[in-house]
C-alpha cells in the first residue's frame, strides 16, 4: 500500500522541502537556519529512500546514504562549530526586508512551476510535479544567497541550492549515474571544507564575516 501512496508521499516530501526553503528565507537566527537546513536534508533522504524502495533502485539508497552523511550529519555539525567559534549568531540586516523577499519568492515559485509545467506533463514517472518544486527550491535558495549579508547564511543558501539539485536528480531521473553522484558529493565535501577554512581566515584578516566588508576590489 505504500506503493499506492508513494506519489503522494514523494509530493509530500517535495512540498516539505519547498516549505523549508521558504522558512529559511524568513529565518534570521543562524543556528536555527542550520537546523532548518538539516531538516531539509532529512526530508531529502526520506524522499530518496522512498523512491528507491518504490522504483527498486539500489543507487538511490547509496545517494540517500551520501546525503545523510553529508547534509544531515557532517555539514550541520561543522557549521554549528564554525558559528560557535566565530560566534556569529544573528544575521539581522538583510538587503531586502523579509516580507518583500517572501512575495518575490512566491513569484519565483509561480515562475518555476509555469516553466516546469510542460515538462512535468510529459514526464511519466511517478514524481511528475517535483521538477517544478526543485526548480523553485533552487531559485529561492539563490535569492537567499543574494539577500543575506553574512557569510554563513550565504553558504547555507548555496548548500540548499545543492539540495534542490539533488532532489531534482532523484525525483525526476531516479538518480544520476553513480559515478556522478560520488563526484558531486566529493566536490561538495571539499568545497565546504575549504569554505570553512576561508571563513576563519577572512575573519582573521578582515575581522568580520560581514561580506559587505568584502568590497575592496572594484571598478573605481
Amino acid at each position: 500500500m505504500i506503493i499506492k501512496l508513494a506519489p503522494q508521499l514523494v509530493n509530500l516530501a517535495a512540498t516539505l522541502i519547498l516549505m523549508l526553503s521558504f522558512a529559511m528565507i524568513s529565518q534570521r537566527r543562524i543556528s536555527s537556519l542550520i537546523n532548518l537546513f538539516t531538516i531539509q536534508g532529512a526530508a531529502l533522504v526520506a524522499a530518496s529512500i522512498l523512491l528507491g524502495y518504490v522504483t527498486h533502485q539500489p543507487d538511490l539508497y547509496i545517494s540517500a546514504a551520501l546525503t545523510l552523511a553529508l547534509k544531515v550529519i557532517f555539514i550541520p555539525w561543522m557549521l554549528h562549530r564554525v558559528i560557535r567559534k566565530l560566534n556569529v549568531r544573528w544575521d539581522v540586516e538583510t538587503l531586502i526586508n523579509i516580507p518583500t523577499t517572501m512575495l518575490v519568492g512566491i513569484g519565483l515559485v509561480i515562475f518555476s512551476f509555469s516553466l516546469a509545467w510542460p515538462i512535468s506533463r510529459l514526464s511519466h514517472n511517478l514524481a511528475g510535479g517535483s521538477l517544478g518544486i526543485a526548480l523553485a527550491v533552487v531559485l529561492l535558495s539563490f535569492m537567499m544567497m543574494i539577500t543575506r549579508s553574512k557569510a554563513v547564511p550565504q553558504i547555507i543558501g548555496f548548500l540548499s541550492i545543492e539540495n534542490g539539485l539533488v532532489f531534482a536528480a532523484i525525483s525526476v531521473t531516479n538518480g544520476m549515474p553513480m559515478i556522478v553522484e560520488f563526484g558531486v558529493a566529493l566536490d561538495l565535501l571539499v568545497a565546504v571544507l575549504i569554505l570553512g577554512v576561508f571563513m576563519f581566515q577572512i575573519r582573521e584578516k578582515i575581522d568580520s564575516l560581514d561580506i559587505h566588508k568584502l568590497e575592496a576590489l572594484k571598478e573605481d
Partner: protein, 674 residues
C-alpha cells in the same frame, strides 16, 4: 614560383620576392650587428639602396607586361598567400624602388649613434617597412594584403617611436598606430563585404562577385575610410602632422613619399579593380573630400613654424589633390567617358610619382638641415644657403617642384588635372557641371597657395641672414646624403622634362583600370605633351626650359657684350636703421600672417598680445587644428563617460553580482521558454 630551381625561367614577380627577401636578410644582419653603427650605416644601407634600384629596374621592365601570379605556401590553410604583379602594382613598385633608393642612400649618411633604438634595430624595422610595402603591392588576397598591410603599419610605428624617451614622440606614435589600426579594421570589413559570403578571400573571387549597389557603396565607403586613414585625408589626417616630426627624416621621407601612396594604391585597387560597379556619387564624394583635404592641408602648412609639420601638412594637401583626381576619374568612368577618366587618372598617378620624389627629397633636406644646425624650428634658421649649398640647391629643385612650377615634375600633374577639370563640362548631370568651375577654382587656389608655402619654406631656412650665431658653423651634408638628395632631385627634374615617357609608363595602368589610355595620343607628337589633341592643349616642358635658359643665356652674354660684368660687394642697405640684427628679419610666423588673417575661420588660434607696459613685450600666436576639438576630444570624452557608466556596474558588492547572475538566468529562461 614553380621554377625556383633555374633562375633563368624566373619572372619579374620572383625577382621582386628576391628583393624583398634581400631586404629582410639585410634587416636581420643589422640585428646581429646591433651596435656596430659604422657597419650598418656604410654597408647595409647602401646595399639595400642597390636592391631598391633593382626593384626599380624590375618595375620598369614589368610595366605593360602581362600579369604574373604566384602562390606562397604560407598563410591560412585554405588561403595561402596569393601574389599578383600587374601593371598597377608595377607602377607603384617603381615609386617604391626609385624613392627608397634615394632615401636609403641618404639614410646611410643620416643615422647617428644616439639615444633610443640602436641602429641595428632601426635597420631591421626600416627594411621590414620597405619589404612589407612591396608585399602590399603584390598581395592578391585579402588575408595576405591585411597581414602585410598591418606589418607595414607596425614597422613604421616602431620607426616613428624609435626615439622613445620623449613622451610627445610616444604620443605621436600612439595616435598614428590607433588611426592606422582603426583604418585597417575598416579595410577588413570592406574585404568582408567584397567576399560576398563566399568564404573565398582571393581578389580573383572578389572581381567575379557582382554586388548590389548598396553593398558596393558600403564597400566603397569603408575603403575610403580605411585607406583614407592611412593616406591622411580629412578628417582622419591628424596622425600625419604628429608622426612625421616624430620620426627620423628618412623614415618620414618614406612614410610621406611612399606609404601614403600605398594607401592610394589600395583605394585604386578596391574602387577600380575589385569593385565591378561604379556609381557617380562615389566620384563626387571623393572629389569633394579630396579638395577639402587639399585646401585644409595647404592653408595649415602655410602657417606652420616647424619644418616637418609644414611638410606634413603639405603632404596632406598633395594627397587631397591626388584623391580629387581619382574622384574625377571615378566620376567620368561612372558615366562611361573612358578617355577623360583615363586623363584624370593619369593626372593623379603622375602626381603620385612626382610627389613621391619631391616630398621625400624635401624631408631628406629637413634631416640634413637638422644635422647641420640641430634646429627644427623655422624661427631659428636662415641664411643656410651659403653654408650648406649641397643641401640648398637640391632643396630648391624640390621646392620648385612642390610649388607646381613649370618645367618641373609637380607642374605636369597639376596641368593634366586642370585639363581634366576643363573637360568636365560634358557631364550629363547639370549640377556637377555647375560645380566643376568652383572646384577648378579651388584647385587653382590650392596650387597657388602651395607656392606660397614653398617660398616660405625655402626662403626662411636657406635665405636671408642666419637668425642664430651658431648657424654659421653649420656643416654641409656628407657624401651619402648628397648622393641621396641629388638622385631624388634629378628624378624631380627628369619627371618634369619627359612627361610623355612617364605617361607611357602610366598608360598600362589606366588601360587596366579604365580600359583607356593617353599613350597613343602623346606618343603621336614627340616632345609635345598632348593629352587629347594638339588644338585643345599642349605643353612641352623641354622646349619651355630651353626657352627660359636661352633667354637667360642670351641676355647674360649680350649684357656682358655691350656693357660690362662689374660688381661691388657692400653690406646691405640698413634702411637707415644701423642697429638692426638678423633677428629682425621677417619671421616664419610673420610670413604666414596674411594667410592666418584670411583663413582665420579655419584655425583655432591662441594669441598673446603684449601690453604697452610690458618690460619684455612678447608676442606669441599658436595655431591648432580645430578638428581635435570638434571631433577627437569629444569622442575621447564620450568613451570616458561610457566606461565610467559601465564601471558603475562593478562596485565590488557580491550580492549585486549574484543578482546579475540571477537576473541573467531568469531572462535567459524567459527567452528560451517562448
Amino acid at each position: 614560383m614553380n621554377s625556383l630551381i633555374h633562375p633563368a625561367a624566373w619572372v619579374h614577380l620572383d625577382w621582386v620576392l628576391v628583393v624583398v627577401l634581400a631586404w629582410l636578410v639585410i634587416g636581420v644582419v643589422g640585428v646581429f650587428a646591433l651596435r656596430r653603427f659604422r657597419f650598418v650605416a656604410t654597408v647595409l644601407f647602401p646595399v639595400s639602396a642597390l636592391f631598391s634600384l633593382l626593384l626599380m629596374a624590375l618595375a620598369l621592365s614589368a610595366a605593360g607586361s602581362a600579369a604574373e601570379v604566384a602562390v606562397l605556401p604560407i598563410g591560412l590553410p585554405q588561403l595561402p598567400f596569393h601574389l599578383r604583379l600587374d601593371s598597377l602594382s608595377s607602377f607603384f613598385l617603381l615609386v617604391i624602388g626609385g624613392v627608397s633608393a634615394g632615401v636609403s642612400a641618404f639614410a646611410a649618411g643620416y643615422f647617428r649613434q644616439g639615444e633610443g633604438t640602436p641602429p641595428g634595430l632601426i635597420c631591421l624595422e626600416y627594411h621590414i617597412f620597405l619589404a612589407s610595402m612591396t608585399m602590399v603591392l603584390v598581395a592578391d588576397d585579402a588575408y595576405a594584403f591585411m597581414v602585410v598591410w598591418e606589418t607595414m603599419a607596425l614597422s613604421s610605428f616602431f620607426l616613428v617611436i624609435s626615439n622613445h624617451r620623449i613622451p610627445e614622440i610616444r604620443n605621436a606614435g600612439f595616435i598614428y598606430m590607433l588611426v592606422a589600426h582603426v583604418g585597417a579594421l575598416g579595410i577588413l570589413l570592406c574585404f568582408g563585404v567584397l567576399q560576398a559570403n563566399t568564404g573565398d578571400y582571393t581578389f580573383a573571387n572578389m572581381r567575379a562577385q557582382h554586388l548590389s549597389p548598396l553593398w558596393a557603396s558600403i564597400a566603397f565607403v569603408l575603403a575610403v575610410f580605411g585607406f583614407g586613414a592611412k593616406a591622411g585625408i580629412l578628417p582622419v589626417h591628424v596622425w600625419l602632422p604628429e608622426a612625421h616630426p616624430a620620426a627620423s627624416s628618412p623614415v618620414s621621407a618614406l612614410m610621406s613619399g611612399v606609404m601614403l601612396k600605398i594607401a592610394l594604391y589600395g583605394l585604386l585597387r578596391v574602387s577600380f579593380d575589385l569593385l565591378q560597379t561604379r556609381i557617380w556619387w562615389w566620384g563626387a564624394l571623393l572629389l569633394a573630400i579630396g579638395l577639402a583635404t587639399a585646401l585644409f592641408g595647404v592653408v595649415f602648412s602655410t602657417v606652420q613654424v616647424e619644418m616637418k609639420r609644414l611638410l606634413a601638412y603639405s603632404s596632406i594637401e598633395n594627397i587631397g589633390l591626388m584623391c580629387s583626381g581619382i574622384g574625377l576619374s571615378l566620376l567620368f568612368s561612372a558615366y562611361g567617358m573612358k578617355t577623360l577618366s583615363a586623363l584624370a587618372l593619369t593626372a593623379a598617378l603622375y602626381h603620385v610619382i612626382s610627389h613621391a620624389f619631391f616630398k621625400s627629397l624635401l624631408f631628406c633636406s629637413t634631416g640634413a638641415v637638422m644635422h647641420a644646425t640641430g634646429e627644427r624650428s623655422l624661427g631659428k634658421l636662415g641664411g643656410l644657403m651659403r653654408y650648406v649649398p649641397w643641401v640648398a640647391w637640391p632643396t630648391l629643385i624640390g621646392v620648385l617642384a612642390c610649388a607646381g612650377l613649370p618645367p618641373l615634375s609637380g607642374f605636369v600633374g597639376e596641368w593634366l588635372l586642370l585639363q581634366s577639370f576643363l573637360f568636365t563640362t560634358g557631364l550629363p548631370s547639370s549640377f556637377l557641371n555647375m560645380l566643376v568651375p568652383v572646384l577648378a577654382a579651388l584647385f587653382a587656389l590650392v596650387a597657388a597657395l602651395s607656392g606660397y608655402t614653398m617660398v616660405k619654406y625655402f626662403g626662411v631656412i636657406f635665405l636671408g641672414q642666419p637668425r642664430e650665431e651658431k648657424l654659421s658653423q653649420a656643416h654641409d651634408a656628407g657624401m651619402w646624403e648628397r648622393i641621396g638628395m641629388v638622385w631624388l632631385a634629378a628624378a624631380c627634374v627628369l619627371l618634369g622634362l619627359i612627361p610623355n615617357q612617364v605617361i607611357g609608363l602610366i598608360d598600362p595602368v589606366t588601360q587596366l583600370l579604365v580600359s583607356a589610355g593617353l599613350a597613343h595620343s602623346v606618343s603621336a607628337n614627340g616632345w609635345l605633351l598632348v593629352p587629347v589633341s594638339i588644338e585643345r592643349a599642349s605643353y612641352a616642358p623641354a622646349i619651355f626650359l630651353l626657352g627660359v635658359l636661352a633667354c637667360f643665356a642670351v641676355a647674360y652674354m649680350l649684357v656682358r657684350q655691350f656693357y660690362h660684368g662689374r660688381t661691388r660687394r657692400v653690406p646691405p642697405w640698413d634702411c637707415g636703421y644701423p642697429w638692426q640684427t638678423a633677428r629682425m628679419q621677417d619671421s616664419a610666423e610673420g610670413f604666414g600672417q596674411p594667410i592666418r588673417q584670411i583663413f582665420e575661420f579655419l584655425f583655432r588660434m591662441k594669441r598673446e598680445l603684449p601690453s604697452a607696459l610690458d618690460a619684455q613685450p612678447r608676442y606669441r600666436v599658436t595655431v591648432e587644428d580645430p578638428l581635435w576639438y570638434w571631433l577627437y576630444l569629444p569622442v575621447a570624452r564620450l568613451v570616458e563617460r561610457i566606461s565610467k557608466l559601465i564601471g558603475l556596474l562593478q562596485q565590488g558588492r557580491i550580492a549585486v553580482y549574484l543578482m546579475y547572475s540571477f537576473v541573467t538566468l531568469i531572462v535567459v529562461l524567459m527567452v528560451v521558454k517562448r
